[in-house]
Symmetry: C2
Subunit: 130 residues, 2 copies
DNA sequence: GTATGTACTTACGAATAGTAAGCAAGGCCA
DNA sequence: TGGCCTTGCTTACTATTCGTAAGTACATAC
């Protein structure tokens, strides 16, 4: 076994998430980002306008909502449709790939909500032990 | 409908991830953080020492590795065992809850690696369209 | 004609992450 | 006896990212 004779493009295509410069790192960063997760979860429930997302994703700023949507759109997970009217009307929805991603994210989110009591107990126990 | 008549503790226990002050937000932040994801994936492969993690999780700094491990330990996902020897010897492993979390994370990571070509294509198509 | 709503963008201060150096304490080599 | 090596952190400083607040364009409502 020699050290990787395979070209960069192959390594990249395989998607070695643990490697520093793998592009999958970027995609993961977008999907698993604080707001990316919540946006995907909300969009799994159907198409939403910008301001609807802003209201549902409690605490997100317009700045980060816009930026995160642009990331996800750039990765092909979210589709943006803008109607040329005034005031502006823009609709965001998941692409088929986005729906797959959202499914995984929601599974994790559901698990966290179910396990939250256990996790809080662990935190409390740790705090008490000190 | 008035503003939430239910007590804070109820809201909290239900684990409403979309709500601003839900503690599940913090847990999600730890698990889905840039390095949290990768650490969980590596630890799913078995117990590791600090320096082993540092080598496998390409690009992580000692600072962030230590901090993320402390988060995950605080949430009860990671167990830390320190042997009182010199030079120090510390082993990190997943707790049962941590193994559940890691399973979800790895499912997402595997999906990303499989779908990466599609995502790259989407990015390229978008770039070409401009 | 003032206020409101939409979907952003921009400027700026605050929080967070990355870089690099330091530290403890025992073993090894000379 | 004195350096230097090791590991698992912590600390100081810097760079990057993020949140807050304000601005924009135009139409409709009051």
């Amino acid at each position: 076994m020699e050290k990787s004779p395979e070209p960069f493009s192959t390594r990249v295509r395989r998607g070695a998430l643990l490697e520093r410069n793998c592009p999958s790192r970027e995609v993961l960063k977008h999907i698993s980002s604080q707001w990316g997760v919540l946006i995907l979860i909300v969009l799994e429930g159907g198409t939403h306008r910008f301001s609807e997302l802003r209201r549902k994703v409690d605490g997100v700023s317009e700045r980060m909502l816009a930026q995160t949507l642009q990331w996800l759109e750039g990765d092909g997970l979210v589709e943006r449709i803008a109607y040329p009217v005034v005031p502006p009307h823009v609709e965001y929805s998941l692409t088929p790939i986005g729906r797959e991603a959202a499914g995984h994210i929601r599974a994790l989110a559901d698990w966290i909500e179910v396990r939250l009591p256990d996790i809080c107990d662990a935190q409390a126990a740790r705090a008490a032990a000190e």
